[in-house]
Symmetry: C2
Subunit: 382 residues, 2 copies
């Protein structure tokens, strides 16, 4: 598989009350097209990743909506897979291109979340979960807290280990002016933050964020005078919506299946990955992801993270953007923005947070509490 | 393009208060797999077409939801394009297969509409329209009524012409025990029915319907001992969400662009089409569709329909299932069910409503008031 990335960008992430979804999308697409430096008429299809626009804002039909806004009267569709909507939008675009039906496809991920009341939002987000969990009043912090408890029990993972994830990702975000929280925090601050669902505290949780990201993809192409970045694997998997039907709660099976497939497709091994953007909706989720993707054996990720092996001077460097935790988590945009980050890292234009000699990158996007997972692997060619 | 249909079915359409979406989907998929006669483990991905489950029922993440319900832990995603969600789900499945990433893909279209209050439903459906139209309080009958007025003015189309569409489609539905309204009506009944949005009356409008449909697709395959049916073209297009931005109101431009592309892809001409399932959400929509697809010149469809040229003994036979008007319109299921109907017609197993010598069929699915259109062309091989 070889799908060339022509351009990619994301907006500032944060509480952007004054900016509408159409303006967020307009801005990121303008930036992406500027970088791609191809005329707008070359775009043959638009794939939109979004979860909440219908349920919260009453606007569906976002494919046609944004195609019109962008003055592109081309085939367009919205794909939805909860918090993995962005990743699934990229996966769909990859299929569209490899199928030969479309040569150049624009992927847009967008979410506007902060305009709504917290209780409305919490309810809407549980649209990603099982109806049993919704009826029981479970929320995502509660579900991930249960997974954290199992992981702690089985592998002696501690609250300090989880805090280390948040501290690392905030440190990374402090180098990213587009991050929702571009500042450092300490382990002590994480441990002292209010409990949300024990053992998860406020600073173990990713925030509610507005933002948009976009990527322009085309079939394998030679680009002049630029370091070339391609998607060399795109894979996805599913598992039960609810935790009660899972084989185990200390890992996300959909992640491990999708990762295995992606490594096979690309003939890349986990040890070759220089950077990874993983789905750290909660700190425990990053620990599990590191193991489920295959970077570490079960139980070995937490010590590695604590020792800085996934920080700026480690390998792979994980969530150099700040991750969902500190860069923010506008759900439909997240999976797209992960690939935007990797693209720029592999191109070598990530400024202050550039990872040296980054050649292979991996993105990992999860829907719900692990019912969907999408993995992409990207590689740069000189 | 050659994607083989292995099996296809739909549930009874109607007001199915006692049946949940999961049961509707379970039933149609069981029927489709029975016909396809392949083991469930051969299914490599699931694409779900649905519009309203999130906005009305609070349940998103339908890809993973139905994958779990069907005991298929495979990649799954929901695609949404308003009333064209079903057609876009099939289009996505076709891309998935042609890309080579997935060999055998299950498409599910489902909608549960009758459990909600009419005003909730009307508001949710306008999620397919432009925000200007929503703010103005326009509904889809009002929007199509405006198009009808323009068509009447320009081509002397009459209310009796529109009534003839409803009469034909009800006649067809009377041969379809799965139709929402399997009975005949008369022109007089249509003309005397209550006005919804003048000139459209109650019997010019498709109903609010529950139902599900499914199709199992695979890469070009030779099937033993059966007449083989393949999708030989899949094309889509978009236009503005709102009517105010359209070039004209007497046609749906997205339809004509998608149809042109589909005829090119398949090297089939409109005169070769034996049967067509077109998107008759309102009677005027069928008249416009006949012209926009290219079966008739502008202004010539209404007389042809009136004269019976698209009825059971005509060519192409249009909406032999009863169409959206009489078979029903569960929005996410509609685009899938259109192809289910064509598949069975081309296989020759449509019983009382079998069209003789049907070899080439076309389906036409529209989202909103014409912001999205999807066309599929199917052909049977002996």
């Amino acid at each position: 598989m070889n799908v060339t990335v022509l351009g990619a960008s994301s907006t500032k992430f944060g509480e952007l009350w004054q900016i509408s979804p159409r303006d967020l999308v307009g801005r990121t697409v303008a930036d992406t097209l500027l970088e791609a430096d191809i005329p707008r008429r070359k775009i043959q299809a638009v794939i939109v990743g979004n979860m909440l626009s219908g349920i919260l804002g009453g606007q569906e039909h976002l494919g046609a909506f944004f195609a019109e806004e962008l003055n592109l009267k081309v085939p367009a569709v919205k794909v939805e897979s909860a918090c993995a909507s962005g990743g699934m939008a990229v996966h769909t675009a990859v299929m569209a291109i490899i199928s030969g039906l479309y040569e150049t496809v624009l992927v847009v991920g967008v979410e506007k979340m902060t305009d709504y009341k917290p209780e409305e939002l919490a309810q809407a987000l549980m649209g990603a979960g099982s109806d049993v969990e919704r009826e029981a009043g479970a929320t995502f912090p509660a579900l991930y807290a249960m997974m954290a408890r199992v992981h702690m029990d089985k592998y002696q993972t501690t609250e300090t280990d989880m805090a280390a994830v948040a501290v690392k990702n905030h440190l990374h975000a402090s180098l990213n002016s587009q991050a929702h929280f571009p500042f450092r925090i300490t382990v002590e601050q994480v441990l002292a933050s209010p409990k949300v669902a024990s053992p998860l505290k406020l600073l173990d949780c990713s925030p509610v964020t507005d933002g948009a990201a976009s990527i322009l993809l085309t079939k394998s192409a030679k680009i002049k005078n630029k370091r070339q970045v391609s998607i060399i694997a795109s894979a996805s998997s599913t598992d039960s919506l609810g935790l009660s039907e899972r084989q185990s709660l200390d890992s996300i099976k959909a992640t491990s299946i999708a990762a295995k497939k992606a490594f096979e497709l690309s003939a890349v091994s986990p040890t070759e990955v220089d950077i990874a953007e993983v789905h750290d909706c909660f700190t425990i989720a990053e620990i599990m992801a590191m193991e489920d993707i295959g970077f570490y054996k079960k139980g070995e990720a937490a010590p590695a993270i604590r020792e800085g092996k996934t920080g700026l001077n480690g390998r792979p460097v994980v969530n150099i953007s700040g991750g969902l935790k500190a860069s923010g988590h506008p759900v439909g945009a997240t999976g797209v923005k992960q690939i935007v980050e990797i693209y720029h890292q592999l191109k070598g234009d990530s400024g202050k947070r550039q990872v040296s000699k980054a050649r292979v990158g991996l993105s990992h996007n999860v829907g719900g509490s692990g019912a969907s997972a999408v993995i992409h692997i990207l590689k740069s060619f000189k």
